[in-house]
């Protein structure tokens, strides 16, 4: 694919090899992420196929439903629920959240109107029903039509509700603002010496500055990207950590949230890209080669480069989503095992396992935030790199 004939080409090739390495890694991680999802789904299927006793089947289905429900966003903040054994009714404890719909006009009401999907909510003459955590437009009776795959065919209005995930993002956002502005104030008060919780967070901030931003973007341009990197890291990390609490919010395991983050990364990369960055995409071999030779390679190479622009943030969003979702599924499945085994051996065993996985998840929460920030910084580094800097950098490396 590359032709390293003379010295100048060697420089270009090493540059390209580095980028290719990153691309291959991205693709690999992407594939791994997908296989993770596949395994997950497979695991669920296995659970479904092996029904076991007649009594435990309902239990298993109940657990599966519970996990699926947990992974999804919800329109009310449910702290816990209990099912009445006699009547079979479920009592939910928590608080409702506002529902905001756009359906030919603005419809706002509290989610308590849905009664957790049990009744139809009416707003300005339209009827809505909650089905598997999603709002569908129905008639007054709440009929939902299904296609052959048992998917509802009802119209879904544009849903701008303040859901549980939105609430958690707001909570984390306020926490971050409170935490870090108080850290900033403590600097002003104590003469640049952190106090209290700042002692924990300052090294992390410095680590992100020195080992993520400066290391990947370079001394000259890192300042522009640093606020984004810091915000992203702490936002993801805190949300991940909240996901491990019994509140059970799975915000970073939601595809819409990770897509939002990746879109921002993509926009920043695209709009801060230097001339050399774009030149590298559309003319990766540079001027060291005659155009007649390049044109055949470019038929393959340029589309790959352009595809790479989108694959990079896409890999980011899938990786974070898959890792967090997988963690939640594994943890909740292990906890669910307690109710399936119902024995003196199975209970402690699944408790021990879920405890161990929880510890791993604590690490994963930090690791995923780190990886996301790290890769975002790497992409920013590519985008902001200019040719002169690059040459200088390569020169340094070669002299070493």
């Amino acid at each position: 694919m590359y032709f390293c004939t003379d010295f100048k080409d060697t420089v270009i090739c090493s540059k390209m090899q580095r980028k290719t390495l990153v691309r291959i890694l991205s693709v690999l991680l992407f594939i791994v992420s997908f296989s993770g999802i596949a395994q997950e789904e497979h695991a669920m299927e296995v659970k479904e196929i092996a029904p076991g006793e007649a009594g435990s089947k309902t239990k298993k289905e109940e657990i599966k439903e519970f996990i699926n429900h947990h992974l999804m966003d919800s329109h009310d903040f449910n702290l816990f629920g209990s099912t009445d054994e006699e009547t079979g009714k479920t009592h939910h404890y928590g608080f409702p959240l506002p529902v905001i719909l756009w359906d030919g006009g603005l419809h706002t009401f509290m989610s308590s109107k849905f009664h957790h999907g049990e009744s139809v909510a009416e707003s300005n003459g339209n009827y809505y029903k909650l089905y598997h955590s999603k709002i569908y437009k129905t008639d007054a009776e709440g009929t939902i039509n299904y296609d052959e795959k048992h998917h509802p065919t009802n119209v879904r209005p544009l849903d701008f509700s303040i859901t549980k995930s939105v609430v958690m993002m707001l909570v984390v956002g306020l926490m971050l603002i409170w935490l870090f502005s108080s850290l900033a104030k403590s600097y002003a008060k104590n003469g640049s010496i952190p106090r209290g919780i700042g002692r924990l967070f300052e090294p992390i901030v410095l680590y992100i500055r020195d080992d993520i931003a400066i290391a990947n973007i370079g001394e000259n341009k890192y300042k522009k990207y640093l606020p984004f990197l810091l915000t992203t890291f702490f936002f993801i990390w805190f949300l991940n950590m909240f996901g491990l609490t019994p509140l059970g919010v799975n915000v970073t395991g939601n595809i819409a949230v990770t897509t939002g983050l990746a879109v921002i990364v993509f926009l920043i990369t695209t709009f801060t890209g230097t001339k050399d960055y774009w030149k590298h995409i559309f003319d990766p071999l540079g001027d060291g080669m005659p155009w007649a030779g390049k044109i055949f390679i470019y038929i393959i190479l340029v589309p790959i480069e352009i595809l790479g622009l989108f694959i990079k943030p896409f890999a980011l969003l899938i990786r974070l989503y898959a890792n967090m979702t997988a963690g939640h599924v594994v943890l909740m499945s292990l906890i669910g095992l307690i109710f399936i085994f119902k024995s003196w051996i199975g209970g402690p065993l699944s408790f021990g396992l879920s405890f161990a996985i929880s510890l791993i998840e604590l690490l994963v929460a930090l690791l995923q935030a780190y990886i996301f920030t790290m890769l975002a910084a790497l992409y920013f580094g590519f985008a902001s790199e200019t040719h002169a800097e690059h040459e200088a950098h390569e020169g340094e490396v070669q002299h070493l």
Binding site: E41, M72, D73, I100, K134, H151, L158, D159, F160, S161, I162, T163, S165, V166, M169, L170, G173, L176, I177, F180, S181, L183, A184, K185, Y187, A188, S192, I193, E202, V205, L206, R209, L226, P227, F228, L230, T231, F235, N254, I255, A256, V257, T259, G260, L261, V263, I264
Partner: protein
Amino acid sequence: MEKLINDFSFGLFFWQIIIFVLLLLLLRKFAWKPILNAVNDREEGIKTALDSAEKAKLEMQNLQADNEKLLQEARAEREMMMKEAREIKAKMIADAKEDAKTEADKMVAQAQAAIESEKKSAIAELKQQVASLSLEIAEKVVKHELSDKDKQLKLVEEMLGDAKLN
């Protein structure tokens, strides 16, 4: 994949972008900028403090070297002064000895001269007195001798005898 697309909630995506961008702007203004500035200031402060400490150390070393040099110079000067003083002392003693000797010699010479002249005048006076005394004696003797005729004759004869002998 279908599940993923089905799970995608545009509302959540919308809120996520809004919240995140707002959070980014607020944190940038109220947290990251002050924190990073404070950290930078502190790092700069530490760096300058280290630099000035290094400089102070160097200055201290210079000062010590200067002190040492000054001390050495002072010592050398003292040494020289002592040497000079010793020389002066020796010279003074030598001079004084010389002076004293010449003075003494002179005094001795003067004394000798005075003694010589005293001696000479004394001798002269003695000669004079002896002359006058012998004249008086001779007069008295002559007067006495010439008082009788016998004696005068005897004397003439004696003298004649002598003259004959001669």
